[in-house]
């Protein structure tokens, strides 16, 4: 497979990209090791805000694909980002970076767990970290809201879709696949018409 050109959006504005496969591997290893209770918040913070490998808009687009495809979402995202810069090799290296060190950590923790499973402080500390992790994911969503300002459907329609999605998933607790199919399908269909009219 040939590597894909990295700069698809407008260049300039301090756009960066991974220097090498090693840089890619190390970056994803560090990301993954910071991601307690989920890696997505760290991916957004590091790759969009700090390293600037991608814009907010590109991040949302990649995340949409990672979300809709089967398999673990952040693993899909790593694969796609790696593939974007270095083709198949990049995809495999990003995947290895995302999984190798955390796999070792999780196995060590499983071996330790048997000894400390009964400690109530530890269980409580994990609960506290879980609450923070939940807040991190919400914050990631809040930070990406601004990227919807240029959306072809316009801000009011985006708000309507966002509120409907939130109600479906968080309040009614509908299966994710239904929400993605129904609301996502409608939104894509409307966007398709809007893009044709423009």
């Amino acid at each position: 497979m040939t590597p894909l050109p990295a700069a698809t959006a407008t260049a300039g504005s301090g756009r960066a990209q991974p220097e090498s496969l090693t840089d890619l591997f190390v970056s994803f290893t560090l990301l993954a090791l910071q991601g307690f209770g989920g890696v997505l918040a760290v991916v957004q913070r590091e790759l969009v805000e700090r390293k600037r490998w991608m814009t907010r808009e590109e991040f949302i687009e990649e995340w949409a694909v990672a979300q809709i495809m089967p398999g673990p979402n952040v693993v899909n995202l790593a694969l796609m980002i790696g593939g974007r810069y270095f083709g198949l090799r990049g995809a495999l290296v990003a995947l290895a970076g995302m999984l190798t060190a955390p796999l070792v950590v999780v196995i060590v923790l499983a071996l330790l767990y048997a000894h400390f499973a009964d400690n109530p402080h530890l269980a409580a500390a994990l609960r506290g970290m879980g609450a923070v992790a939940a807040g991190l994911i919400t914050a990631t969503g809040l930070k990406l809201l601004g990227a919807l300002k240029q959306h072809p459907l316009g801000v009011p329609a985006c708000i309507a879709f966002g509120v409907a999605t939130f109600i479906g998933v968080a309040v009614l607790r509908l299966p994710l696949a239904w929400v993605l199919a129904a609301l996502g399908g409608l939104s894509c269909w409307l966007t398709w018409h809007k893009l044709g009219a423009a």
Binding site: A64, V65, Y113, A134, L176
Partner: protein, 192 residues
């Protein structure tokens, strides 16, 4: 705690095949297939005990890294039950390859195709059309994680921690690990 089992070659193959199948069904993340894994590993084959299953999920969620590693821990525990560390390593490899190979192959091919055809109206409509949905989904996912399976008013300090975290991360550039550390400390001392 120990739960000795015998795993034949055919058993390992069926473990691999089951995960290969689940990989393609795991839309919305591997965790969505956890109920089926429980049915297969615990109820049907008795390769794992119920506490081993729950611990695999809980440890992977608490540990750094992608949550899909709970699948690796299940393979690890099946191997341990079957007789030792080398079988545990085999279990990790089979479970991870199974859950990842089909989905990552499909995602890679789809992403390549989408990137080559990024100017097609249909591709742009899909990516942009999904944007408001996936952004709201993140907010909703945090909400669901913070409130748990049922709204228990007793947990209000946890909701407060989640809400404060969300606002702080949204509005400041503080390092995420400080916040996780603060959450752990608050929990350890019984404050949340």
């Amino acid at each position: 705690m120990t739960h000795a089992i015998v795993m034949t070659g055919a058993d390992w193959v069926s473990l691999l095949l089951h995960y290969l199948m689940l990989s393609l069904l795991a839309i919305g993340g591997a965790i969505t297939t956890a109920p089926d894994m429980h049915r297969f590993l615990v109820d049907e084959r008795h390769w794992l005990t119920d506490p081993q299953f729950s611990a695999s999920v809980a440890i992977a969620q608490a540990a750094p890294g992608p949550n899909v590693l709970f699948v690796a821990l299940m393979g690890w525990n099946v191997g341990l039950n079957a007789g030792g560390l080398s079988l545990a390593a085999l279990g990790v490899v089979l479970a991870l390859v199974g859950i990842l190979l089909p989905s990552t192959t499909l995602t890679y091919l789809a992403a390549q195709w989408g990137h080559r055809n990024r100017d097609l109206r249909g591709v742009r409509a899909f990516k942009q059309g999904m944007a408001p949905i996936v952004v709201a989904l993140l907010v909703a996912t945090g909400w669901v994680l913070a409130t748990g399976a049922s709204y228990n008013a007793h947990d209000w300090p946890l909701w407060l921690v989640a809400a404060v975290t969300a606002v702080v991360v949204w509005r400041t550039r503080i390092h995420l690990l400080w916040l996780l550390g603060a959450g752990a400390v608050l929990g350890w001392f019984g404050l949340v």
